[in-house]
Every structure is written in C-alpha cells, then in structure tokens.
C-alpha cells in the first residue's frame, strides 16, 4: 500500500510540473501568430485537400512559427465546413480551405448558408481539370466513339460522378449542354466509391478529378481533359478543345478566413502562404503528389471569383430549369 502512495505522489508531482511548464511556454511569445493557426477542412481526412493542407503544414513553421491545427468538418460536399467557417471568430487564428465551384453552387441550391462576401481571401493555391473516362472493357475508347454510342438513346447510358453539385457535376453538364449526350448521372459518395464502380464496370463512363483515378489510370480509357493545355503527366490525353468541344473547367482551392480579419494579420497570412507556395521544396513535394498548382494573390482572388461565378451560375440555372421540365 505504501508503494502505491509514493507512486501516486510522484505522478502528481510530474503532472503538476508539466502543467507549469505548459503555461510557461504558452505565455512566452508575442506578435501574430502567437499560437498555431487552425485550418478548417470541409472534407474528411485522407483526401486530396487533406494532403494538400498537410503539404503546406510541413513549411508552416518557417512561415508562421507554428504548425497548423487541422480541423476536419466534412459533410454535404463541403457545405457544412464552409458554413461553419463563416461563423468562426475573425481574429485570424481560424482559416479554412474553400473549393470552387462548390462555393458558387451550394449557396444557389440552399445547401450552403454563405456567400462569397462572408470571407476574406488569403490566396488561390491550386487548380485541377477534370477527366472523362470509360472502363477498360468498354467498347468506347475515344470521345467520338462514346458520343456516337449515346446518340439516339437518351438516358439509357450511365455516367458516374463522385459527389453532387461539384466540379465534376458542372463539367459534365457543360459538355452535355453543348453535345447532348443525355447520360443518366449516377452520384456516388466520393472518389473511391466511384472508382470502384468504374473498375468494376458498373458504369459506362465517369467524370472525375485526376486524384482518385490516377493510380489505376492504365486500367481505364481516358477520353479527354477539360483544361486548355494537355496535362504534363498525361501527355496522350487530348483536351476537349482539341476534340472540338469548347469546355474548360477546373476545381480550384482557396485559403480564406471569416470576413473582417484585422488588415495587418491578413497581410501576415497572405505573405506567409505566398512564401510557402513559392518555396521550391514545397513545389517539389506537391509535384510528387501530381497536384495541379495555380497562384492568385489574395487581393485579386475576390474579383476573379466574381467573374467565374456569373458564368457558372448561368449554367446552373439552365440545367436545373431543364431538369424541372
């Protein structure tokens, strides 16, 4: 019994010492940021946005003196996390990642209770085009063949997309508006789910981002990519513009904070992210993960988004109105 008491006493002393040390450390610094910045991710752990944020995190200590604290708030294809970010305090210690075109489409559909006005933008950091693919076993190995196969039987063929009201939804509908493919769209719960359907030959085609399918791309026919130029690591895949369909879409990621961050803090955030993004080591790292990178300074993001928004909402209204008919 005596041993017990001595051990207990020792434990308590150790715990108290740790506590005192902790308070000591947290009280020592000054100047923004005094502590780690919390990044709210609107998607779950393990996805592309998670890995991108973690790549920034590797260099966060150089830029901000602290590592990020990553907070996952998945749900409703990023609507939950983005709405939650709006309500966070605007002291600069909480920022988040936003995705486009989600941020145009979700407020329009009612799933996201926010607007572009609710945020201060730190930077636009990444941009990736979408691919149209078919399973290896499919008889349609090029876009021309697929288009021919769809004609005359509207709704009979199926096309998978990984999530509702996302970039893939948008890019398919833009193509469909121009080309009248008339697929029945199957909405899966995420890239892995859709990839399984594709590899298992459950759907006849899919519209997807590069990330989820890249590992098994040799088991798929890639018909086209929605960028203006061919993707460097997929040199054989034609762009849709080359195929005669004028479609350019992309999913873009921004870092942003709730509206009203003090200007000097916003400046620190913008400069910190700029420093990380332009670090050659960082670029090397994201290249290894085959991320499509793009940079727009924080001051210019807002006007860029407004421009894009108008065109995309136009397409959204048309598509939804047509469906209601």
């Amino acid at each position: 019994m005596k041993h017990f008491r001595v051990a207990n006493l020792g434990l308590i002393i150790i715990l108290l010492c740790t506590g005192i040390l902790l308070t000591f450390f947290t009280g020592a610094q000054a100047a923004f940021p005094e502590k780690g910045i919390t990044v709210i991710l609107p998607f779950g752990p393990g996805g592309g946005t998670d890995m991108l944020t973690r790549a920034f995190d590797v260099y966060a200590e150089d830029a901000f003196g602290h590592n990020f604290i990553v907070n996952y708030k998945p749900g409703a294809g990023s609507a939950v996390g983005t709405t939650a970010l709006k309500k966070e305090s605007n002291d600069g210690y909480t920022i988040g990642m936003g995705s486009l075109p989600h941020m145009y489409l979700q407020p329009a559909s009612g799933s996201g209770r926010y607007t572009l006005d609710d945020f201060d933008y730190i930077a636009l950091i990444a941009s990736e085009p979408q691919l149209m693919v078919t399973p290896k076993a499919s008889p349609n190995k090029t876009y021309a063949e697929l288009k021919k196969a769809t004609q005359g039987k509207p709704g009979e063929m199926t096309l998978g997309i990984p999530s509702p009201l996302s970039e893939t939804w948008l890019s398919y509908h833009i193509i469909n508006n121009k080309e009248n493919l008339g697929f029945t769209v199957i909405t899966y719960q995420g890239g892995g789910d859709m990839n399984a359907a594709l590899l298992g030959n459950q759907v006849e085609a899919a519209m997807t981002n590069i990330g989820p399918v890249y590992g098994e791309i040799h088991n798929l026919n890639v018909l086209g990519v929605t960028s203006t130029e061919r993707v460097s690591f997929l040199p054989d895949v034609p762009t849709f513009q080359e195929l005669g369909v004028d479609v350019v879409t992309s999913v873009e990621r921004v870092f942003m904070a709730p509206k009203g961050v003090p200007p000097e803090r916003l400046k620190v955030l913008r400069e910190g992210f700029k420093k990380i993004w332009h670090n050659p080591d960082f670029q090397e790292r994201v290249k290894k993960m085959r991320y499509g990178m793009k940079w727009i300074d924080g001051e210019d993001v807002r006007s860029y988004l407004e421009e894009e928004k108008e065109a995309i909402l136009d397409i959204y209204e048309k598509t939804v109105a047509e469906k209601k008919k």
Partner: protein, 153 residues
Amino acid sequence: MNPSVNKDLFAGIFGLAFGGLLLYESIQLSYPSKAFPLLISSSTVVFSLLILIFSVLKRNVKVVPSENDGILPSRLTIYIIISAIIYILLIDLLGFYSSSFFCIIFVSSILSPNHLKIKPFIFTCLSSFIFLFFVYIIFSFWIKTSIPDGILI
C-alpha cells in the same frame, strides 16, 4: 392498468408522431431525395400502428406488475437529465473545463448527498481535477481540439 400496455402506447404514439411528421415532410420533397425517406417513414407509421393495435388487444390480459416498469424514470434521473442540459448550455458561457468541474461536483453531490462531508468532498474535487487534467492532455494538448471557452477556460 397493465404496465406493458403503457410502454406499448408510448412506443406506438412516439413512432406514429415521428414517422408521420417525416412522412408529411418527405411527400413535399422533390423526386430523388424523397424516395428513401418515404419508404422508411411509411413503414415506421405501419409498425407503430401495429404496436398500438396489439396493445389494445392485449389490454384485457392481466400481467403481474413489477417494479421499475413505467415509462417515467425516477426523480433522480430527471434531475440528471436537467443538469446535463444545463451543463451543455453552460459550456458556451463558462468554457468547457470550468463547467465540467462544476458538473462533476454538482452531479456527484445529488447522486449521493451523504458524501458532502469535508473529506469525501475534497476527494471528489481532487479526482475531478485529475480526470480533467487527463482530458486536457488528450484533447487539448495532443489532439488540439478547439475546445469552446467562455468567460473562464
């Protein structure tokens, strides 16, 4: 009255109300999002109706009433529910750690009022302190959850 009838009535009426409400709501939704809720809410309504019918049929059967059988819990449990609600509301006001500390002290003293003497009280305080320190190490220090803080911590 037969106590198990009382239980059946509660289950049936609750299921009917909940299922009916969602059934009513889902009828108003548009096609793809209403298919599944429509199916499930209507089956909820059917099951609750079945339970109600059986409970009416069983009404005449006599069962020996046993203790602890009604729907309503003891008064102590209701106090605990109320203090849990107050505790959760206090988190936003006072902060997580301080309201948790008060919660332990308060709940443990309504659970056993005869521990309110000085020595057991100090024991309660000490153990809640150690427990919260453990919570702090895991959630605030390691996981870095942004635990809500109010006036205090």
